[in-house]
């Protein structure tokens, strides 16, 4: 039934003679467009970083490019590895994954603060951003919890439990502070419920509850003198503020980003003439505002190429969702879709001034090992779901023929 399953005789349902053919067939069952879209985005990222960071590290113009390339290579290895295993086995590890998610995000509170935020666990040669790895752990474990309650999907208690399981890590992550990732967790939970089949009534209630909570914390509370949060926290949260941790700079960041993207016009100003990028008017130009660099340097054409690649990625993910051999797979794809769409919408929206500034990285484009590797792990799971679905379908058709 699965490549992993086949190693344990109990689960073997196929004729052993069919094995070699299936083994060879796995490569063809890969979704090439999904991986191509991801590699296309990595290529865009490397080209953009090459221009934007060529003076960032004295004497080493390719510093960021080389590292981003290495991160992507590690990510692709994860894709190849994950696509060979049956994702369904992950269900057994749901408690472990959830525990790891909580543990990783609590451990960072013991780590040194970096510009006032604690998000990273330092290792001798690298550091990992635990909330990033939390995303994929949450998707895999939350989907598993929901599958376990598949028979009571429409119960209020199921919905409440799943939301609670997502809100706990979100509440841990938000004060790191990493509001953006906290919101990704909530979006993931909501989408997993949505795909799982929670009733419209409950979904509407959840959305309403969320709207009321946000309105109260940010608007009504302070207006009537109930300060749920301290003023600086409200300030930080107002309009989903950014965790760039310097609220005074918000309008500055947004203005400079708009100028950068706008001045790119149709075909961009080119690497040498992209003054917003070169002169560092754009903050964090290799991470959060990398899309603004694309916009300034390569214009509407460049931005459209990048967005099209995301569209391709999302279309392939939706297709895999419909193909999945079981509910667990569909839920995982739903979670990954939520993660990708949320990040693209919020990050690109932020750089073009239609979303508040939050420190959400643009998947595969923003410089950063944790984000790139986690995105590839998610894509690896998608490939695994795709291959498993194709194999199941092939097995069925074969059994029908024979």
């Amino acid at each position: 039934m699965s490549t992993v399953g086949r190693t344990t005789p109990i689960h073997t349902t196929e004729d052993p003679v069919a094995k070699p053919r299936r083994e060879r067939g796995m490569l063809f069952m890969f979704d090439p467009l999904l991986l191509l879209a991801a590699l296309g985005l990595v290529a865009c990222s490397l080209i953009t970083l090459k221009g934007a960071t060529r003076h960032a590290m004295p004497g080493h113009p390719l510093y960021y490019v080389e590292r981003q390339g290495i991160y992507a290579a590690i990510g692709v290895l994860f894709v190849l590895l994950l696509s060979r295993i049956d994702y369904s086995r992950l269900r057994e590890y749901r408690y472990g994954m959830y525990g790891l998610l909580i543990a990783l995000n609590i451990v960072v509170y013991g780590m040194p603060a970096i510009r006032g935020s604690r998000r990273w666990i330092p290792f001798p040669l690298f550091q990992i951003q635990s909330s990033e790895f939390g995303k994929i752990l949450l998707i895999a474990s939350l989907s598993a919890f929901l599958v376990n309650r598949a028979r009571r999907l429409t119960d209020w208690s199921t919905t409440a439990r799943i939301m609670l399981l997502a809100l706990i890590p979100a509440m841990i992550v938000i004060p790191q502070p990493d509001l953006g990732t906290g919101l990704v967790y909530v979006a993931v939970a909501f989408t997993v419920l949505f795909v799982g089949g929670t009733t419209w009534k409950q979904l509407t209630a959840l959305a309403a509850l969320f709207a009321v909570a946000v309105t109260f914390v940010l608007a009504i509370g302070p207006a009537v003198g109930v300060h749920v949060l301290k003023p600086y926290q409200v300030q930080r949260l107002t309009g989903f503020l950014n965790p760039s941790h310097d609220p005074r700079n918000q309008t500055y960041n947004i203005t400079e980003s708009l100028i950068a993207i706008g001045s790119g016009e149709k075909t961009g100003r080119g690497v040498a003439h992209a003054t917003q990028t070169n002169l560092h008017f754009l903050p964090e130009n290799q991470t959060d505002f990398v899309f603004a660099v694309v916009g300034e340097t390569y214009g509407f054409v460049g931005a459209a190429v990048v967005l099209s690649l995301y569209a391709l990625l999302i279309w392939r993910a939706l297709r895999i969702l419909t193909m999945s051999k079981n509910l667990y797979g569909s839920l995982i794809v739903g979670g990954v879709l939520a993660m990708l769409m949320f990040q693209v919408l919020v990050n690109v929206g932020m750089t073009i001034g239609i979303m508040p500034i939050t420190g959400v990285p643009l998947p595969l484009m923003s410089y950063g090992g944790s984000s790139v590797i986690v995105t590839f792990i998610a894509l690896g799971l998608l490939e695994s779901i795709h291959i498993q679905a194709r194999m199941t379908a092939a097995g069925k058709s074969r059994s029908l023929v024979s």
């Binding site: 689960h11 004497g59 598949a150 795909v195 950068a260 003054t275 509407f300 419909t322 073009i352």
Partner: protein, 670 residues
Amino acid sequence: MIKLPEDRRLPMTPQLALRVAIIGSFALAMFAILFFRLWYLQVLSGNQYVKQASINRVRNVSIPAERGDILDRDGNLLVDSIPANAVQIVPSDLPKSGAARRHMYRRLAGVLNMSTKRQKCPIDGRGVHRLAPIPCAVAQEQAQLPYANVTVKTDAHQPVLWYLSERQAQYPGVEVHQVWLRQYPHTTLAAQLFGTVGRLTAAEVHQRRFRGASPNDVVGQSGLEWYYDRYLRGRDGADRVQVNALGQPSGELRARQPVKGHTLKLSLDLNLQKAGQTALQEAIDSNPPATAGAFVAMNPTNGEVYAMGSLPTFDPNIFAKPVSQSEYEKLNNASSGFPLFNRAIQSAYPTGSTFKGITSTAALQSGVWNLSDIYDDTGVYNNGVGDQRHNAGHASYGALDLVQAIKVSSDDFFYNLGRLLNSDSLKGGALQQWAHKFGIGRKTGVDLGGENPGILPSPQWRLDRDKLEKQCENGTGPYKGHGKHTSCGIADGRPWSVGDNENLAVGQGDLEATPLQLADAYSAIENGGTVVKPHVGLEIDSSDGTLLQKISPPASRHIKISPTYLAAIHEGLHEAASQSGGTSADVFAGWPQSRYPVYGKTGTAQHDNQADQSWYVCYVPDPNKPILVVVTVEQGGFGAAAAAPAARQILSQWFFGNRGKFIAGSSKTL
């Protein structure tokens, strides 16, 4: 096999199909919005943003200029610069809370592999604290230059610099900047001459010498770097861009290239300098307990310094990195012999019998002694007021005229001249007057800075010292608030006496002169009365080697000395170095005196409680390559034993290109 319900293939229910369609529509809407917004921003209103971008015009980042090189007279490289990346702390960007700052310092020390142990840390105006090296460096620099960056490390490995640059958020206030570091390929060679470079200090900002330098600039702080700073400094460049109204940069991103400083060519001769330091080291090593010394070799006609050295020495390359407190103390310590000290211009000593050339000139010019006068040296000298003195080893030289007295270095003869030249008038007599003309007791004006003027004892000087002693004992005047003392050891309170002048006549007593002063005085004796201004700088060249300016400072003054008298003194000096019975004749055994006649005078200065100091001054008036050499070896014994042999080696290197053997003389005169 029984399938678990959850594992069952999910049929594509209408409900799921609907929800997937909803997600798809949402994605479609999302991309539509993003595309539309981008179209609006970039295509419809791009013009307006281009204009705004062009207002974001200039960003300036200073690029430090490379300091000019320093070459010897033949163009050999003595000092140049290498680029390095310095880890610097910008105090104003440091975390405000003390705990966060200390935490950051600890992490930074870990990354840079520096100690976090608390050590003694003297801070200007705030006493001595106990701090780890990084906070100590910050505190010390802050006390002097509140707004300057503090360089913590200059030799960090590249991966460490990348690590820091990538994680600037984790190390607030820590920056990596490109800097130029001085490099000294010949390590200890002429180390004290070059001096040091450092950040412009608050006091220096308004000095004319440093006009045009900005507060974070590195300027010369001592030695040649200080004296010729305006030529060596160069002009910093700036990384910036000018954007025109169309939003296009009008120039390259680097608008102003840094301009390297000019090259300073010295009159030093690399080989002679090497030979001099080796010869001096040999003189020190072969005459225990000697540990220190100095030498000067110069052109007596124009003051060009060919070589100047001081031992013990040090390797100035250590100053390329921030120097730790313990290292610095090691360099400023009696046990290491104060290697930073340039003894050729900063240490003043009694010069012993080498002073007799000056005494002779004074005696002849003032008329107290004639060339035909004879003094009978019986080995004992009585000055008639109760003092009895004698030559070293109680030698008696019999009837002497001035020429012979110089040749054998009779102390009795010169005690007698000292008595004859004595005057109780406050300014002293002819000896003080002539010594002053020769430059004793005043700076030579050499282009190195930090010169010691020395002391020319006179009745007035003694009065001043006695007054100072009184003030010190009573705790008044400059010693106000220091309390009373029974004795300060500044002076013994006795008035000027004829004995003082007798001491001065033979270069003893309270006289203090630097080796360079002695060289300058003998230059005037050699060249007929011109007191030249010694200089180490020879030319200012542009960095590509074209001559910009010659350095030939005019002579300090001219002294009128009768040529007849000078000829007699020259004769005495030449006989001393060449004829049997001359004090340094055996040192020059085998020297081609007919080709390169040597004129030399030994000296042995006595100090309380320590071994005698060896001196030698000599010159060879070769028309093509005139040279004058002064060598002194602290605690080196007799002049002929330590200083003269080293001087011969220097002359040998100059004329024959090799040092030859170290030939110690046997003369035991003072």
